[in-house]
């Protein structure tokens, strides 16, 4: 096994593209090292990207925010403008693992690990976040929901690295929220989760909405019908009821050690409803 620490993203891409055997990217390592220890992956090459210039920065740009691939989730909480603009995204990233894990783990890693139960991903999908990808063929930007294609699988080509997560600029009267269900209070993986992102008009009517569900299907679900249930209305009881029903219906969960199909469906609706109420309040709705 070879371990390298390239100083430029071009070098990292070149090393990954040219690797003969299985290669892995190391950012925080909170997924990779666990998988290696468990004997699930045995990479010949590990490319540690933490020394690459700029990857550990959170930048506020004209288009919004750019969160570098090696920014640990704990750093998101320390960034006041980001927290103010995207509280739901930050709270989602703050639920991963434990305090110690959050000092290492990254949102880009959470995305590329491609677990349907990843905590930051439903919030990012609801936020309409983009992934900035660098590869042998140059740069491209795609919606985050286009990165994972199934449990443990991504659309990234050989040699490609997610360089940053891009969050759009916030419209006025917007708010987001993320909730997940776990049987414990921490150190756990979502049984089911929901992220909701809303923008309101001056009367408190929802003008834009995105609703995403985690651990409810092989990939995170963007539920457009759920958004439609909210758009054009205030967050009245009927709208919330419709939201919960649509979300429960949109789930394609499995029965497993973490929960039953029936349980996940019901709780997906409950969480979507509760997240919507929080997002609405954060957007200034009453």
């Amino acid at each position: 096994m070879r371990y390298i620490r390239p100083l430029s993203i071009e070098d990292a891409v070149g090393q990954l593209a040219g690797a003969a055997g299985p290669a892995a990217i190391l950012a925080g390592g909170s997924d990779l090292l666990v998988r290696m220890k468990g004997g699930f992956v045995e990479p010949d090459l590990i490319v540690d990207i933490k020394l690459i210039d700029g990857l550990s920065e959170i930048r506020e740009t004209a288009e919004g925010f750019s969160v570098g691939a090696t920014v640990p989730c704990a750093a998101l909480r320390e960034n006041a403008p980001l927290k103010k603009a995207w509280p739901g995204v930050v709270e989602a990233a703050s639920l991963i693992g434990s305090k110690q894990v959050q000092g290492r783990c990254t949102m880009a890693g959470n995305l590329c690990n491609a677990s349907p139960a990843a905590d930051s991903v439903p919030a990012l999908v609801a936020a309409g976040a983009q992934a900035l990808i660098v590869g042998p063929g140059g740069k491209r930007t795609i919606p985050v929901e286009a990165v994972p294609t199934g449990p443990g699988k991504t659309s990234l080509a050989r040699g490609e690295i997610v360089e940053a997560i891009l969050l759009p600029k916030r419209a006025a009267r917007s708010g987001d929220a993320y909730l997940r269900f776990i049987p414990r209070t921490e150190m756990d993986i979502a049984v089911v989760s929901a992220g909701v992102n809303l923008t309101l008009d001056e009367q408190g009517v929802v003008t834009a909405a995105r609703v995403a569900l985690g651990a409810a299907a092989p990939t995170v679900l963007l539920v457009e019908e759920a958004a439609e249930a909210l758009i054009g209305r205030k967050l009245d009881e009927a709208a919330l009821e419709r939201l919960a029903t649509v979300c429960a219906g949109a789930c394609r969960p499995i029965d497993d050690k973490r929960g039953t199909i029936e349980f996940r469906r019901k709780v997906a609706g409950v969480l979507a409803r509760r997240a919507a109420i929080t997002a609405y309040e954060r957007a200034g709705g009453k």
């Binding site: 414990r184 150190m187 050690k257 929960g259 029936e262 349980f263 709780v267």
Partner: protein, 754 residues
């Protein structure tokens, strides 16, 4: 030895105080040496190959490729652990469990092992071992295993305890029955009867330190074993017997222990490590992974229990009956029997009957888990008691007080009780502020009682007094919960010196006589008795030395407050001699001063507890939160109250995990789905409230200080107390442990739909 163990009321100086434990600093700074922290020059890495199948015949094992891998020094199978058990069925089960012989009986059952120069080579070698399995049908559920036509796990097992010897083999290894009176008649007198069926899932002790050992077999036939265990003397006997060694040639040293809770009373990896070392001719370190600990150590039973209790309108229980089915893994057990004994032990009953069935399943061999078998029985009984109180319109505590056992009561398992603490713990619970605290929305309160026998057993200690007056106490009971501090307090108390002058250690098997394991809540109870005895023997010598120094009869010398004092008017001018002074002169007065003790600590007083808890249930998700928790338990005498409280809190914490989320989840293929702490959910710190404790002290008449064991009883009431609280909060009776969110939500929905 003429040691009088009877309780004598006395004023304590050291006992009852809370000094820092002697092992504390090393533990919090990482210096303490646990099982895996010991290493030897030239040591190899041992790894075990385990069956991926729940039930399979082993047609053959080809180890040749693994043996040829460079760096591999030994490969063993069952052939390297020949059967030397000489008809001892229990020992044969232990042997077969350490290394499968003809059949793999559960997912995780060891089938072969290697010792190699490093972990990578050992792992590669395991992949090169070819096992030819014939997969057999399996059964993991307790009720399914009892059904006709269930896959048979061992065709040599015929149910014992039946009136007629059965003609067909069965997965039920034994039926046992306890009780007295006539339950049929008793139920006839009842105005109200509650009858319910309950299930509990299998849980693991969840000790944070995996099993680990270093084995070193010398070419002269002697051997050393450094190991994390609750009982190094028992490990020595078992390992020696399984390997065909004389026990005296095997020296076992116990490491610090990162939790055991009964799970380290049984050998798994140790005989394998010794066999590997014997074959390789080098020391072998064998450390189990967490996955191996879950799949292949000794979790507790899964159970299925039916309870029926009847009472008159005035609240008197007229009859109580229970049928208890406990899994024992793929070997015969005695777990249901213990459940049958403990089920109704809290109550004064004229008519009581319990029947236990030991059930074989394709799961790991059941081992003890803190008051083994009692929590499940208490869950079923205390749930039914609560329901019956409701039907009677009586307060749950008052109903229990009315029917509580007391001194002179014939217990449901036979013996007549001496002075016991069930009534006082109930009265204390009734008066506790917790009972009157207001409850919020979606919150419920529950309470329950629990009983445990406690055990004494064989104990041997040495107390040596150094020339500087320091006292070293060598005990043979492994310290699992602060017993070195407690025993130092006892030595200081008896000798009349300061705690800081005493240092207790756990001695190895070659340094002391035989000691039973630290189980049955016996560590502090039995070793404190032996320590008192040893100290009294040392005092006798101290008095003799003083008498010799003064040249007066020893009968005129008394021992008071750490000093020899000459008694009588004619010695008025003799200044008292301190322990330090006598020790300093010992070289000239007859040599070293020591006290020894060997005894069987009889009369471990039975122990009772009452727990109260408040739980909040989210009716939309089935999620639970423990809001408040209070433990009231009788300690006889709390030697070191902080560690007594620690035992109370620890048992409650484990009980909370068991009640709410912990369970072994098996797939249809009979494989364990959640062999790790991510999906086997023990509580994390933030899941628990501060667990309040109240120590009652009802002296045990059979111990000089009145001490009772305290370690286990605290895990008996929680399943029931929490089930009662959740049932009250959710408005529906919960009958299946753990009460995980999906189970609670399903029960609420079912209730809603009528």
């Amino acid at each position: 030895m003429n040691f009088d163990p009877r309780f004598s009321g006395r004023q304590f100086k050291s006992v009852g105080t809370r000094p820092i434990r002697p092992d504390g600093v090393d533990k919090v700074t990482g210096r303490a040496r646990y099982g895996a922290d010991f290493s030897m020059a030239g040591q190899l890495v041992g790894r075990v190959l385990r069956s991926p199948h729940a039930h399979a015949r082993i047609r053959g094992i080809d180890t040749s490729k693994a043996e040829q891998l460079p760096g591999v020094k030994a490969v063993i199978t069952a052939a390297d652990l020949p059967d030397l058990t000489n008809g001892d069925a229990a020992m044969f089960d232990i042997l077969d469990n350490c290394m499968a012989r003809t059949k793999a009986l559960y997912d995780g059952h060891a089938v072969a092992a290697v010792a190699a120069v490093d972990a990578r080579t050992a792992r590669q070698a395991l992949k090169l071992i070819e096992v030819d399995y014939e997969i057999l049908p399996h059964v993991t559920d307790v009720d399914e295993a009892m059904q006709h036509g269930a896959p048979l796990i061992n065709d040599a097992i015929f149910t014992e305890g039946l009136e007629e010897k059965p003609v067909k083999p069965s997965n039920v290894s034994k039926r046992t029955q306890y009780g007295h009176g006539d339950v049929h008649e008793g139920f006839g007198q009842a105005d109200f009867i509650v009858e319910r069926s309950f299930k509990t899932e299998q849980t693991h002790q969840g000790y944070i330190e995996p099993h680990a050992c270093v084995a070193n077999v010398s070419s002269d036939g002697t051997a050393d074993l450094w190991v994390c265990t609750q009982g190094h003397f028992v490990y020595r006997q078992h390992c020696a017997q399984l390997l065909g060694m004389e026990a005296s040639k095997l020296r076992v040293t116990s490491s610090e222990i990162g939790g055991g809770f009964g799970g380290k009373t049984h050998v798994w990896a140790e005989p394998v490590a010794l066999a590997l070392s014997r074959k390789a001719g080098r020391p072998v370190k064998l450390v189990m992974t967490r996955d191996e600990v879950f799949r292949a150590s000794g979790p507790t039973s899964a159970t299925s229990i039916d309870v029926k209790i009847g009472a008159r309108k005035d609240g008197t229980i007229t009859a109580a009956e229970a049928t208890l089915r406990y899994t024992s893994g793929p070997y015969a057990g005695m777990w249901a029997e213990i459940g049958a004994m403990t089920a109704f032990a809290c109550y004064r009953l004229d008519n009581v009957k319990t029947v236990g069935y030991e059930v074989l399943v394709n799961r790991p061999k059941t081992a003890a888990y803190r008051a083994p078998s009692a929590p499940m029985a208490a869950f079923a009984v205390e749930s039914a008691v609560d329901e019956l109180a409701k039907e009677l319109g009586m307060d749950a505590v008052e109903f229990r007080i009315k029917n509580a056992a007391q001194e002179g009561t014939r217990s449901s398992y036979g013996p007549v009780y001496g002075p016991i603490g069930i009534g006082p713990t109930l009265e204390a619970a009734k008066d506790h502020p917790h009972m009157k605290a207001p409850l919020g929305k979606n919150q419920g309160r529950g309470m329950a009682c629990g009983f445990w026998f406690n055990f004494g057993g064989q104990t041997c200690t040495d107390l040596n007094i150094g020339m500087d007056g320091s006292v070293s106490l060598a005990v043979g009971t492994v310290d699992v919960g602060g017993s070195r501090a407690s025993l130092s307090l006892v030595a200081a108390e008896e000798l009349g010196i300061d705690y800081s002058q005493v240092k207790a250690i756990v001695a190895d098997t070659s340094s002391l006589g035989y000691n039973d394991m630290t189980d049955g809540s016996r560590g502090t109870f039995s070793s404190s008795m032996a320590t008192i005895s040893a100290a009294r023997n040392a005092i006798k010598i101290l008095r003799e030395r003083a008498a010799q120094t003064w040249d007066i009869p020893v009968d005129d010398v008394v021992w008071e407050k750490g000093h020899a004092i000459a008694r009588g008017e004619k010695y008025g001018n003799l200044a008292a001699l301190s322990l330090k002074e006598i020790a300093a002169a010992s070289g000239k007065t007859g040599g070293p001063i020591a006290g020894h003790s060997e005894l069987v600590a009889d009369g471990a007083g039975v122990s009772f507890a009452t727990h109260i808890c408040d739980i909040e249930v989210d009716p939309e998700t089935g999620s639970t939160r423990v809001i408040r928790y209070t433990v009231v338990q009788d300690a006889g005498k709390a030697v070191h109250p902080t560690y007594v409280e620690g035992q109370y809190q620890g048992g409650a914490a484990q009980g909370i995990g068991w009640a709410l989320n912990e369970e072994y989840i098996y797939g249809k293929d009979g494989r364990l789905q959640n062999a790790g702490f991510l999906d086997y959910r023990i509580p994390v710190c933030s899941d628990l409230p501060m667990i309040d404790t109240q120590i009652l002290e009802i002296p045990n008449p059979n111990h000089p200080y009145g001490v009772r064991g305290v370690g286990e009883t605290s895990i008996v009431p929680p399943l029931a107390a929490i089930a009662n609280a959740v049932s009250n909060a959710a408005g529906v009776r919960m009958t299946h442990i753990p009460m995980s969110p999906p189970r609670i939500l399903a029960a609420i929905e079912a209730e809603r739909e009528g």
